[in-house]
């Protein structure tokens, strides 16, 4: 075999090698590109005010509107097709009206220029009302509430153990600090700010008729009476109907925390 022949066979060999390598390289890159997984992080929530449904906002710019191309689709007649954008900026979360017909309202005021949203702000697009929750603030708050609940339980137990003699048992709600107990004296007690209520609580965040605790069968139930700031049991909103109460449940009435004690011992007399 002379050099010329060797050269020719080497050239033909490289042709196959090149094709094979090209397929390998392409295959490797393509498989990696196509199978790559991306995570997305929820930055904030919109909570529908009536149903308490949570809508996560995962991007830095979230378009809101009736159009199916929006990130948050609101199929309500009063919402424009491209209604607003909520975006994350250095200043925080900003809501901007993108030429909607019915406007964007933050805490009841219509916005012209983009407005920075704070945790807990009320945002409305047309007639749909939302609460805005920043995840970072929300997480911190939830941690704090957990800690408060733990503390409240300890306090309530201390009160309950304080005096056992000559006591009768009645259900009661004990406030967070554990130094005040409100006994539920009737089978259907209303709670609220108004003097007409069976249990009168003077907190500003409570509605005049906030909630009702009632006995049905052997169990106790709580229901919300259309309060402004809502009623929570174990950090969950009581939306429609009643929620059964169990001993030690945490009741949130407009942000004020109580512990439900089914067998609260009170002194005779």
């Amino acid at each position: 075999m002379d050099i010329n022949e060797l050269y020719i066979s080497a050239v033909s060999l490289t042709r196959y090698l090149l094709a094979g390598l090209a397929v390998l390289i392409t295959g490797g890159c393509v498989v990696s590109l196509v199978t790559r997984r991306f995570g997305s992080r929820v930055g904030s929530y919109l909570v529908e005010f009536k149903t308490k449904k949570r809508i996560p906002l995962t991007r830095w710019e979230n378009s809101i509107g009736r159009s199916p191309t929006c990130d948050v689709i609101l199929n309500v007649a009063t919402v424009s097709r491209f209604h607003a954008v909520i975006s994350k900026r250095r200043t925080g979360w900003v809501v901007a009206d993108t030429g909607s017909r019915t406007g964007v309202y933050v805490n009841g005021e219509q916005i012209g220029k983009p407005v920075v949203l704070k945790h807990g702000d009320k945002v409305s697009f047309g007639t749909s009302v939302f609460e805005f929750f920043d995840v970072d603030v929300d997480d911190a708050e939830r941690e704090a509430e957990k800690e408060r609940r733990r503390q409240a339980k300890i306090n309530a137990r201390t009160v309950a153990r304080a005096d056992n003699r000559g006591a009768s048992f009645l259900p009661a709600i004990i406030d967070e600090a554990g130094d005040k107990a409100y006994v539920i004296g009737c089978d259907s007690c209303t709670i609220g700010r108004s003097p007409d209520c069976d249990i009168r609580l003077k907190y500003h965040s409570l509605s005049s008729e906030h909630a009702r605790v009632s006995k049905i069968g052997n169990g106790w139930y709580i229901e919300d009476l259309g309060s402004t700031n809502g009623t929570k049991v174990n950090a969950r909103f009581v939306t429609n109907g009643r929620r059964k109460l169990r001993d030690g449940d945490i009741i949130g009435l407009g942000g004020v925390i109580f512990v439900f004690d089914e067998h609260y011992k009170i002194k005779k007399n």
């Binding site: 050269y7 094709a19 390289i25 991306f38 992080r41 491209f82």
Partner: protein, 419 residues
């Protein structure tokens, strides 16, 4: 237990960059051999350029890995592999081209790194938007005044030792300006200013008679307009207007249409308007699956073989498989861009990635289908592979847009966001 940790590891390092880089290097070394031994004595310049290219490639990956903790480097592997194919082909046709092409790759890589760094911060992008737009329009205006007509298109500025093609640089600016929308998202009105900018660019390209690039710009504009406004009606209106406008231009300026006279008639005009296309078709067919071997083809002697017709050379000398792999790489980069756009942290990155992918795909289609007579031959380059400095820089920059959409490109930022 071990299974779990393995799975975790797999997710953390999704791409085995080292083995891919080695495969790519072997591929490049094999393809370089025939070019080096083509002549009686190995050409020193070509050998050093090839060596330099492989060295730069390894340097980039080692630095990216160790100093910038880049975990996903598929895009760069594809870019380097394609650039290597282009470099070898160009050098095999004319050794003098090799150094220029290598310098273009270096500048392209630098542009890639700089652009990825700029794209890190949304505020910076937003601040640069207007200067970049003004600069782009200015460049096109200078081009209209100063440029020389080369091959029927008026888009080269001669700067002594080398000449640049401003329309390629404006491509980068076009996407940059289009993506940099922050507050005025999703309203048809916000499009007005961008529409004026786009009209300026496309109009200037029409005046330069660079219809291929004008078409690329228009297609990219439609993609950006849709992503910004989400409004199909407005875009339908714009498209109808554009088609009408193009029809009017062809009606009143017949010389435009005459440039496309050979389209679908290449075999009738095989030695006139269809000269290049017919050669590409018959020579690439003779290449078969595995090609004739680098340097063995005949298409290399045809005019513009290393720029417009380079896909033909690939098919003839490297074989249909390699040609198909090149196309597949671009297609899947586009698929990747679409996927990442849905998870990008900001709309800016979604728009930039999808627009860049659209630009690459349209250019690829115009080039590949142009030389095979499925579309009119408009004389656009094949990204990364074709000879041409500005085209190479633009291709790298377009990849930078796709790269920056992935949060993993910025490990520090990713950490910050998780905290």
């Amino acid at each position: 237990m071990s299974d779990k940790t393995q799975k975790k590891k797999k997710v953390k390092h999704p791409f085995n960059w080292l083995s891919m880089l080695m495969l790519t290097t072997i591929f490049q070394l094999i393809s370089m051999m025939p070019v080096v031994f083509l002549t009686e004595e190995p050409n020193v310049e070509v050998v050093s350029v090839f060596g330099g290219f492989i060295l730069v490639q390894w340097l980039y990956f080692i630095c990216a890995r160790n100093f910038a903790s880049q975990r996903a480097t598929e895009l760069e592997i594809i870019a380097f592999a394609l650039s290597g194919i282009g470099l070898v082909t160009v050098a095999s046709v004319k050794p003098e081209y090799a150094l220029k092409q290598f310098i273009a790759i270096l500048i392209g890589l630098a542009a890639f790194i700089v652009l990825v760094a700029i794209m890190r911060n949304v505020e910076v992008i937003s601040a640069l938007r207007i200067p970049v737009a003004i600069g782009a329009v200015g460049l096109l205006a200078v081009n209209l005044v100063m440029a020389e007509t080369v091959n029927g298109a008026l888009n080269w500025i001669n700067l002594g030792a080398f000449s640049i093609q401003p329309s390629e640089i404006v491509k980068i600016a076009f996407i940059f300006v289009g993506a940099a929308t922050l507050e005025k998202l999703q309203s048809a009105r916000s499009l007005t200013r961008y529409l004026i900018f786009s009209l300026g660019c496309v109009g200037a390209l029409f005046l330069m008679r660079d219809f291929g690039t004008a078409l690329i710009f228009f297609a990219t504009f439609v993609v950006i307009a849709f992503m910004r406004s989400g409004d199909i009606k407005t875009i339908g209106l714009i498209c109808t207007g554009a088609i009408l406008g193009a029809g009017l231009i062809i009606y009143f300026k017949p010389y435009v249409a005459s440039r496309f006279a050979a389209y679908r008639h290449v075999w009738e005009l095989a030695n006139e308007g269809g000269f290049q296309q017919t050669r590409v078709l018959s020579y690439s067919a003779s290449g078969g699956l595995f090609g004739l071997g680098i340097g063995e083809g005949r298409l290399r002697h045809i005019f513009a073989s290393t720029t417009d017709l380079i896909f033909g050379i690939l098919c003839e000398e490297w074989g249909l498989i390699v040609g198909f792999c090149v196309v597949l790489c671009f297609a899947f980069v586009a698929v990747y861009a679409l996927r990442i756009a849905r998870h990008a942290r900001s709309t800016v990155y979604s728009i930039a990635a999808v627009a860049a992918a659209a630009m690459i795909l349209v250019q690829l289609a115009l080039n590949v289908f142009g030389v095979t007579d499925l579309l009119p031959l408009t004389g656009v380059t094949l990204p990364f592979v074709s000879r041409g400095g500005t085209s190479m820089i633009c291709s790298w920059a377009l990849f930078a847009f796709i790269k920056s959409a992935d949060i993993k490109t910025y490990p520090k930022l990713e950490k910050q966001m998780e905290e």
